[in-house]
């Protein structure tokens, strides 16, 4: 051991320079790299490799590019939407909406069967639009999604699809809010019953006057009481019908040929 020599970290690291592979390592290394070189020359790279390499430079700047794109889109959207006035008209849900100048909530409808509801409009634009909104708007369906674009197209104040979409959504929201606010939570359905009920035709139910308990009792006691003891109307009718049917069958079966008819 040489005590005079002062060993430093650099000296120890210099030992790593002496870590060298043997000669056979290099023979194998040369053979492998030649094979890889030949395969790299022969093999054709697919077309998208060049595309990926082309975008590799852009990938480094993905954060600033993304931020710039977001800012540009926001600015374009604000500029596009802000350059045109947006007219928002709110139409409530209705079975039939007829807006007449004299139609108000206080005036009763001339026909009790029809339901007349005053059109509430919320116009958020200039007074010119308010004047234009006095024109009658007739929509045959109850969907706001159909009514509002029709009204907007009639006004022709906004050609932007974004503005139309926003107007429709706002109209839906406000009409829903108005309906909820003006309609009581309970009992609202019953208020419509008198006016709506007469519009439906009367349907007669054949079993409406049959008492199920009485009918069942008579049917069960019929074998014990005899055929003449049937007191129920429905059973009496059925029994008489069956008797007539059997009698008619006896008339037809008395001959050689029988006629059977079907009536629908």
């Amino acid at each position: 051991m040489n005590q005079d020599r002062k060993i430093t970290v650099e000296d120890l690291l210099r030992l790593k320079r002496a870590e060298r592979p043997p000669a056979e390592f290099w023979a194998k290394f040369d053979a492998e790299i030649r094979a890889k070189q030949l395969s790299a020359i022969v093999s054709r790279r697919p077309w998208w490799v060049g595309l990926i390499r082309g975008f590799s430079g852009v990938r480094r700047m993905q954060l600033p590019l993304g931020a710039a794109a977001a800012v540009a889109l926001t600015w374009a959207g604000l500029h596009y939407a802000g350059s045109r006035p947006v007219t928002v008209q709110v139409l409530p849900a209705a079975v039939t909406v007829t807006r007449a100048p004299e139609a108000t909530a206080a005036v009763p409808a001339p026909q009790p069967v029809k339901l007349s509801i005053a059109v509430h409009e919320v116009v958020e634009s200039s007074p010119r639009d308010l004047a234009a909104a006095e024109k009658p708007v007739v929509a045959a369906t109850s969907s706001h999604l159909v009514q509002a674009p029709a009204a907007l197209s009639a006004e022709a104040t906004s050609a932007s699809p974004f503005a139309d979409g926003i107007a429709v959504t706002l109209a839906d929201y406000r009409s829903m809010t108005v309906d909820v606010a003006r309609t009581p939570t309970f009992g609202s359905d019953r208020e419509f019953e008198p006016s709506i009920a007469p519009s439906h035709p009367q349907v007669s139910d054949p079993l409406a006057h049959v008492d199920p308990a009485e009918e069942r009792r008579e049917r069960l006691l019929a074998p014990a009481l005899g055929p003449r003891q049937i007191t129920g109307d429905w059973m009496k009718q059925r029994a008489s019908t069956e008797v007539r049917m059997y009698e008619s069958m006896d008339d037809h079966t008395s001959s050689d040929r029988s006629l059977v008819g079907f009536r629908f």
Binding site: I7, D11, L13, A18, E19, P21, E32
Partner: protein, 211 residues
């Protein structure tokens, strides 16, 4: 005066390197003109240094061989884009170091040694070993083996960037500027990393550093 020369050597590439770079550029032009065989001369010239760098970064000779081959193939495939603004060896080192860094980051949890033996033909290494031990024969070989494992263990405890700077400066002998070119960072960063890495190595290798 001596310190100034050392600093200049560390900061600026030597004139031999510049001559070497010019010679490499001529060969690269031949390859770009279609002389594929000329690239073999570049492989033969730089294979030991490239394998050495990657080996000292990975402490695994099989990985070093594979990564060095891949680096040469990448350089061969991309040599038509080499403009000659930097020297060829800087460009080749950058490819090799980036491939190795990518490999090390992918296999951060998988690290095992596969070491080459230290060759004592080198006078400096023999002198260092003589200063550390007075053993001979099998005892000396065992000591050298333990020292080698301890050295590689200490290197692997460094971060990837610190290990790369130590490898390029202390083992391969590149200047600060050349390391900054290869690692695409500033010279100050190189110096800072080198200083910090040496402090860590000093602490790790303290038993082998007699006071």
């Amino acid at each position: 005066m001596n310190a100034a020369k050392t600093l200049e050597k560390a900061l600026v590439a030597s004139p031999e390197r510049k001559l070497e770079a010019d010679a490499d550029l001529a060969v690269v032009r031949q390859v770009q003109a279609g002389d594929v065989q000329a690239f073999d001369r570049l492989i033969g010239k730089y294979r030991e240094r490239v394998v050495g760098i990657i080996y000292n970064m990975t402490s695994n000779r099989e990985d070093a061989a594979d990564l060095a081959q891949d680096a040469f193939i990448k350089a061969f495939q991309s040599i038509h884009r080499f403009q000659g603004q930097a020297s060829f060896f800087t460009w080749l080192y950058r490819i090799a170091v980036n491939s190795t860094l990518s490999h090390l980051r992918k296999n951060r949890l998988r690290s095992f040694f596969s070491l080459e033996s230290i060759r004592e033909e080198d006078a400096v290494s023999r002198e260092v070993i003589d200063a550390l031990t007075d053993k001979s024969g099998a005892g000396r070989d065992t000591f050298v083996r333990e020292l080698q494992e301890k050295l590689n263990d200490a290197m692997q405890k460094l971060s990837i960037n610190h290990r790369t700077v130590v490898t390029l400066f202390e083992i391969d002998g590149l200047s600060h500027q050349e390391i900054a070119d290869v690692m695409e960072c500033s010279v100050g960063t190189v110096r800072s990393r080198l200083h910090y890495a040496k402090q860590l190595l000093q602490a790790e290798l303290q038993p082998y550093l007699p006071k």
